[in-house]
Structures are given as structure tokens and as C-alpha cells.
Symmetry: C2
Subunit: 192 residues, 2 copies
């Protein structure tokens, strides 16, 4: 009887930095140019360098998007900054498979997780190192960086979930994370 | 127009230690007594202090087990040690919802993740700090601590998944992690 091989892990997630490395890890970048139309003050955005990196995402998806069979993870590195009085943020999305949930775990930095249900009711949770956040089904989610360093967090979701950005492109969120009197606040946003 | 509240997170996961804290976090303990029948050398197990703690698990399940709607997480603290030449290990299980996957992320220590498919084919992956492991559907999984300090890892799975321990109680795994010539090996285990 022979002892079998024990294989090395193909992917690593650095608990200090959130960096994902290994076979099958992909990376994408979003710049201010790619978020045209997302911020409240579009004129302020257009006046900034369009190549400014807003965030980078490293993803490990053991199954392709939309296909069952894995839990995926991704680390987002969201830069600090503002467009007018609105904090740098991710685009935000619903899930294509609307009944699918997600979990966020903050690695470093300070942020706000904005959650909007199907009735466009918006609420928000503070993200700090180690904070854990349950994103329920049928809930759009976006993250804003309210600190002075990069906000780093890891997302976990089922591979069949998929993303739906259309509703947010068309109607946005019903609340925005803005600096009001020097402090971050979730401010209701009337529809245009 | 008034600014809305931004709520604190209710749960935290310490990235250094893996400790989960907050509202809704539960904890369970498994002792050597509770793993009667799991180890190859039952006489060696029975000769040890039955109250020896093998592992502790801290869980955050935003939805009850078996109910859709959340990604759950749990940190396992698996002690170092052996029963005969077999390393301390978790019981191991299939998923009740057999098509559901899982992901493991190692925080600290050194271990082996044992994976057994429906045909009872067993393979294993080394767990080291930061290693990420995809557990496919229909795959029993068990973890062994091959190091000298506690092995700490975080598991992520969909809340509807559930556990199925019956098959493992009845038939065990087809391979065991044993110390052979001073080194850990995945050794095929013939069925009784």
C-alpha cells in the first residue's frame, strides 16, 4: 500500500493584505472614466484625470460565472478619494440569480457598505478591519471608501450568482455616501 | 432631506487569529470522546483523556442551516496531536444538499484537507497560512492538523447546504492522514 501525494494549494489569500495569488486568479481595474455617470457630480468627475484608478479586483472563481459548483472569492482594493462630496465607490450591482446571497469581510481601511432592497430602501453598514457583512438575496450592494487609505475587502458568493448592473446604471441607488459637514453620511437621493 | 444612520457591523472576524465575535456567533467543541470510532486506532483513542479538546468551531450563520439566503462562515481551531500515527482531525462530512460547494481559507498552522468524491476516490491538499481551497459538490471533506500549533481555518458555504455525517460514520474515508516514517502521508484505508 503506497502513500498518495498531498498536493499544494493552487491559490493563496494573504490575510494581512488581502492579495490573491495563484492559478486561475484574474485581475480587473476600474478607472474614473469607466464610472462616468455613476457619481452625483458628473462635472466634477469629468474634470478629474479619467485614468485615475478607482479600484482593482482580484478574483478566484473555481467555476465560471453563472455555473453552479463553487464558492468564489474576490478581493477589492478601493482607493480613497472623492468626486465632489461623494466618496470613491464601486459601481454596485444586483445578482443575476436574484435569490443568491454574498458575504463581505473587511481586511483593512474604512468604508461603508450600501445595501438597497427591491423596494429601493437603502441602508448602510460601517466596514472596518475584520467586519463581516451578510448581503441578503435581492439586495443591490455597493461599497464606498470613507477613509484615507485603500479599503480592502474580500467577497464570497456562489458561482452561479452572476451580476446585474443594468438597474443601477438606469436608476442608481436611492442613497449616496457623501461628506456632509466633514463626516460621511448616507444621504437620500431623489430620482431624476 | 436628512442623512440616514450608518450601522456598525454586528460580526467581526479577526484576520490574525480567525476569532469570530458578535451577535449570532455560536461556538461548539468536539472532544476525543465525541470522536469515538473515527480514528484508525480506537484502542489508542480510548486510552487517552476523553475530555481532550480536538477542535472548537465558531460559526456565523445569517440564515438557519438548510434555509437559503446567506453565505455562512465558520472558524475551526483544530488542536495538534495524534491518535496512534493518525493526526488529530475533524469528523468530516458530505453536504445534505449534495450539489452545494464550500471554500476553505487557512489562517494559521499546517494541515491537510482530505477530499473524497462519490466514488470514494480520495485526494488531499496542503493547508498553510493563506491557502485557499475549493470543495466541489458531492465531495466529503475532512481536515487534519499535521503541525505543532493549532490549525485555524475559515469555511464559507451557502446556508441551504446542511451536513451529512452518516456516510462517514458508516464507512469512513478511503484514505487517512498518518505519520509514516516521520512524515505526513495520505494512506489508502481498505474498508473493514
Amino acid at each position: 500500500m503506497s502513500a498518495s501525494e498531498i498536493s499544494p494549494a493552487r491559490v493563496t489569500l494573504d490575510p494581512q493584505t488581502g492579495v490573491l495569488r495563484g492559478a486561475g486568479v484574474t485581475e480587473s481595474v476600474k478607472t474614473l472614466r469607466q464610472l462616468a455617470g455613476y457619481f452625483r457630480d458628473e462635472a466634477a468627475r469629468a474634470a478629474m484625470d479619467p485614468e485615475t484608478v478607482l479600484y482593482r479586483v482580484q478574483s478566484y472563481e473555481p467555476q465560471p460565472e453563472g455555473v453552479e459548483g463553487a464558492i468564489c472569492c474576490a478581493t477589492t482594493f478601493l482607493m480613497p478619494g472623492r468626486v465632489g462630496d461623494e466618496y470613491f465607490m464601486t459601481r454596485g450591482h444586483y445578482h443575476a440569480a436574484q435569490d443568491r446571497p454574498e458575504m463581505e469581510v473587511t481586511v483593512s481601511g474604512e468604508g461603508v457598505l450600501v445595501l438597497m432592497d427591491e423596494n429601493r430602501q437603502t441602508r448602510a453598514e460601517i466596514m472596518r478591519p475584520g467586519s463581516v457583512h451578510a448581503v441578503p438575496p435581492r439586495t443591490a450592494h455597493r461599497v464606498a471608501n470613507i477613509g484615507t487609505e485603500p479599503l480592502v475587502f474580500v467577497s464570497y458568493w456562489p458561482s452561479e450568482t452572476g451580476h446585474d448592473y443594468g438597474e443601477i446604471v438606469a436608476r442608481g441607488f436611492s442613497g449616496r455616501v457623501r461628506q456632509i459637514n466633514g463626516k460621511p453620511a448616507l444621504v437620500p437621493e431623489p430620482e431624476a
